[in-house]
Symmetry: C2
Subunit: 95 residues, 2 copies
Amino acid sequence: MIGVIATLTVAEGKNAEFEAIFTELAKQVRANEPGCHAYQLTRSRANPQVYKVLELYADEAALKHHGGTEYFKAAGPKMGPCMGGRPEIEYLDGV
Amino acid sequence: MIGVIATLTVAEGKNAEFEAIFTELAKQVRANEPGCHAYQLTRSRANPQVYKVLELYADEAALKHHGGTEYFKAAGPKMGPCMGGRPEIEYLDGV
């Protein structure tokens, strides 16, 4: 299992737009990626502009497949204008 | 949905013992908590003494139930001697 924590900082006033784009992406992931065991957008209680995506993949192949999907690649440019900082992506090894 | 990221720092030489205790706990959680959608121990690639538990609960009631189970309460004292620092628990709201 591979874990990913993606920390995304959204610009002020862009939360609703970001959440709509991400929710659509998450639907696609859940519908098309059996190797993805969790793909959950969450929002920080400490800072409402900070979101953390909790992700779990069966293995490296499932993670690689995710990154290569058309819908994932299409979501990046849509989310770009909503961002308030660089995303931080942490990869973790399942135990 | 409620997300939890539990960051646990394990003392040098205690990794195997910690992982064994936690693996047993995770088995119990998966077998007994339908409201827990993910309970995955992962290990940092940056620091091998740092583990992050990625957790997802259907709602606050499921999270509260988890914390009240006998097996969860019993795991704390067992893991205590393995710890190399205070656990950091971050709660996040699902979107």
